[in-house]
Amino acid sequence: MNVLINDKPYTLAPGARLADALLLIEARPPYATAVNRQFVPRSSHATHELHAGDRIEVIRPVTGG
């Protein structure tokens, strides 16, 4: 199935979990995630099931005002 991770297209196996997406992009801590504009806590990464067309955000800390 096709998903978007930080607006870039990726392909995952059906039934993939959010943790699989993070593994695919080799995400390195510190980061936090949202799927379809809903926050997904760290404790749910391994169990949150993804679906075709999901939009995944993986964010990191940056400078800001």
Binding site: N6, D7, K8, I25, E26, A27, R28, P29, P30, Y31, A32, T33, A34, R37, Q38, F39, P41, R42, E57, V58, I59, R60, P61, V62, T63, G64, G65
Partner: protein, 283 residues
């Protein structure tokens, strides 16, 4: 103009009894400092150590894949924050909807392990003016979710009152649009706001000079949050110190109580015994 939080505090500005209190937490500084747009991380670190701010703002952006494939190659900012050991105030900069702001705040809470959030909900990209029609809804959701919300807002009295009504224990009106450095463009409204609201008020955005910070502190504001005025100064470290001093000076002046302005000149030197008095008229 007075308000309870400043009028009832007899302590000297530098004493711990005059600490800035937000959501029950005390801060010895009344300056909150942004971390963006500095010439280098080293300059940022030196500026923070000079200013000794109460909090440092930070933000969230997407991890991007590096040429080697791994996402999120660290730029050292995370380690810098840990080394500085100053409380972090994450923001929701760039959010244009309530849903985006809430999700960003929740991600920030997990990432920075803090309940603090500077709520930015942008309504106009040209001026970066807050979305005043949806800000209260976003703040309300976050308050119910346990956040310590510091909302970036306009100086509109009714908006700020509504934010207080739904549980914001402090509000942060702008002085001018973000990054303009114009200083308070609506002094009357900012002073009326100070007169009408008793919660801590921090001016956030639009300050360009230490005198701007000093001015709003003299009006009774409880603190200032700024970034660009320091980061884009020719010497950011020196400017960080200048702003810290200005904030203290304004706070001290507020406590000292300014004289009432007069319409006509009044000599400060005694007139009695002035040499040559009436000589000109007798010649």
């Amino acid at each position: 103009m007075t308000h309870p939080s400043s009028a009832a505090a007899p302590a000297t500005p530098s004493s711990s009894a005059d600490a800035l209190v937000l959501y029950g937490q005390s801060f010895q500084s009344r300056l909150l400092l942004g971390t963006a747009r500095y010439p280098s991380p080293d300059v940022l670190e030196a500026a923070v150590r000079r200013a000794r701010p109460a909090m440092l703002t930070a933000s969230l952006r997407r991890q991007t894949a590096s040429p080697g494939g791994a996402a999120g190659a660290d730029n050292g900012f995370w380690e810098l924050l840990r080394r500085l050991d100053v409380p972090v105030l994450p923001n929701t900069a760039g959010c244009h909807s309530v849903q985006e702001a809430v999700a960003t705040a929740q991600m920030a809470r997990e990432l920075f392990d803090t309940p603090w959030i500077k709520l930015e909900l942008i309504g106009d990209d040209y001026t970066l003016q807050p979305d005043t029609l949806n800000l209260v809804d976003a703040a309300s959701q976050l308050i119910r979710d346990g956040f310590h919300v510091l909302p970036y807002c306009t100086e509109d009295l009714v908006l700020c009152q509504r934010l207080v009504d739904i549980g914001c224990q402090a509000v942060m009106p702008w002085a001018a649009p973000i990054g303009t450095g114009r200083g308070p463009v609506n002094p009357y409204a900012l002073q009326v706001l100070r007169e009408r609201l008793s919660v801590p008020l921090l001016v956030d955005a639009g300050l360009g000079l230490p005198s701007h910070a000093c001015q709003v502190m003299e009006w009774g504001y409880d603190g200032v949050l700024l970034n660009t005025a320091v980061a884009l100064a020719q010497d950011p470290v020196a400017m960080a110190g200048a702003f810290a001093d200005a904030v203290q000076a304004g706070r001290a002046a507020r406590h000292a109580g300014a004289m009432a302005a007069q319409d006509s000149a009044q000599p400060s030197t005694p007139v009695l015994g002035t040499p040559f008095w009436h000589h000109a008229q007798s010649q």
